[in-house]
């Protein structure tokens, strides 16, 4: 086996590991509102989300195409760059999961790849227009849009059902949440699973296994969809708690409005190929549904922490991506560097999970279940 094939195998492994952490990290986006309003039992909500994420991954491939071709010049990408970018993204996902912060897996991935590319070739290898037009501007617009849609929606909903008996209304919106939550999971699959597909396609093209203009191979679609579904089923309870109860204490109508707003924004953006952050969108929807009822209903301190994590995502993942690329180059251009980094990462991740397992049961589990 040639050393470049060894690196490709490591990249595919890391891409699927990232996809797993993406599902694990973003379960909260999809199920937190349904769980906190008791529309669905936690395990059922997570299982439905996992299945619909799998289905959603096959629905559209526009986002995968943008990630593979619209962020960095495909010709300057090597498998080692993709590898380093993935490590940057996984590292940021694990750090934010550890602190229970709902940050963007998508931006972590894009940040990681851009950082590693800059470390290897300088800024000329990055498609500036692509990053600004496809990532940064939608990143600002999407959460604001979800905020506005959820806020207007909940104002209309309260006007319509405000004088009815609360018990009946809650039951009805809980039923609605089962559908809106399902749509959200589908939307998540259409947007997020594709980013990993895009990166795997980029690595295959960089290694010469497929042409730069080729589409996403079927085995890539299948493995990426499975990894995100498995990650979703594993569930990131710490972030579920933050999303479900720490930003606002929501009722089922607010939950429905937040999910409805989130699903429409993500599905529409996916149609146009914008790889936006589902985390940003859902958080915006949750805040909008809360703020429209009462501005003080939103815990702005928690919202501020989340916003800070959003701002740090691209540079932090990019920094780790660049650093990892630099470390791999110490061992030459062969497979030794990526192998050493992989072993170190697996050791670190095992230690992190062991520490978490030895500690107290996450508070979110007791709250949610």
């Amino acid at each position: 086996m040639h050393h470049s094939d060894v690196i490709l195998v490591l990249v595919v492994g890391m891409a699927l590991a990232f996809d797993f952490t993406n599902g694990f990290h973003d379960t909260a986006n999809v199920v937190a509102t349904s769980i906190s309003t008791r529309a669905l039992p936690p395990r059922v909500a997570v299982a439905i989300a996992a299945v619909l994420n799998f289905v959603g991954a096959f629905v559209s491939l526009k986002v995968a195409a943008i990630v593979a071709k619209g962020i960095v010049h495909a010709g300057s990408v090597t498998t080692t760059i993709v590898f380093a970018g993935l490590i940057g993204a996984i590292a940021w996902n694990l750090v934010t999961w550890f602190f229970g912060l709902p940050s963007s897996s998508s931006h972590a991935l894009i940040g990681g790849v851009v950082g590693a590319t800059i470390a290897a070739h300088g800024t000329k290898a990055v498609i500036g227009e692509g990053v600004v037009g496809n990532v940064l501007i939608p990143a600002v617009i999407a959460p604001v849009l979800a905020f506005v849609v959820a806020a207007i929606g909940i104002i209309i909903a309260y006007r319509m059902v405000g004088r009815l008996r609360p018990g009946r209304v809650s039951r009805a919106y809980r039923l609605g949440q089962i559908v809106s939550g399902g749509l959200l999971a589908l939307a998540h699959g259409t947007n997020d699973a594709q980013k990993t597909m895009g990166v795997m396609t980029l690595a295959l093209a960089a290694n010469g296994n497929i042409s730069e203009t080729a589409g996403v191979p079927t085995w890539v679609k299948l493995t990426a969809a499975s990894a995100i579904a498995l990650g979703t089923y594993s569930g990131g309870w710490r972030i579920i708690k933050t999303m479900g109860t720490r930003i606002i204490k929501m009722d089922s109508a607010q939950g429905f409005a937040a999910q409805g707003a989130g699903a429409t924004v993500i599905l529409t953006a996916s149609h146009f190929g914008y790889p936006l952050s589902t985390t940003h969108v859902i958080s915006g929807g949750v805040m909008g549904a809360g703020a429209a009822k009462r501005l003080s209903a939103v815990k702005w301190g928690v919202a501020g922490n989340i916003a800070l994590a959003w701002l740090l995502t691209l540079p932090a993942a990019g920094g780790v991506g660049a650093l990892v690329y630099g470390v791999t180059q110490i061992f030459g251009s062969g497979a030794a560097g990526p192998l050493v980094v992989t072993i170190a990462c697996v050791g670190l991740i095992a230690m992190l999970f062991l520490r978490r397992a030895q500690g107290a049961e996450p508070a979110a589990v007791t709250v949610a279940e």
Binding site: S60, L145, G153, T264, T268
Partner: protein, 81 residues
């Protein structure tokens, strides 16, 4: 502004904004209509006001149709390559 227009596909971005606004608010309003109309229809039926109950039943059906249409359109919209 011109520089921004070069960097961003403003037309596509504006489409994302207005479609999300109309579809998102529309679905929430349509489902709220279903909740309102079914609850009112039940109350009116219990108090033997059948005519008004039928009218609210019709409104509820309209709301359900609106939600189903939005879901179907949304799905078609996403699968279009």
């Amino acid at each position: 502004m011109t520089r921004l227009a070069v960097l961003v596909d403003v037309k596509a971005l504006l489409k994302v904004v207005w479609i999300s606004l109309v579809a998102g608010v529309g679905v929430i309003a349509a489902f709220s209509l279903v909740v309102l109309a079914t609850t009112r229809a039940g109350d009116l039926r219990r108090s033997d006001r059948t005519g008004a109950a039928v009218l609210y039943g019709f409104l509820a059906a309209l709301g359900v149709a609106g939600c189903a249409f939005a879901l179907w359109r949304g799905y078609l919209y996403v699968v279009q390559k």
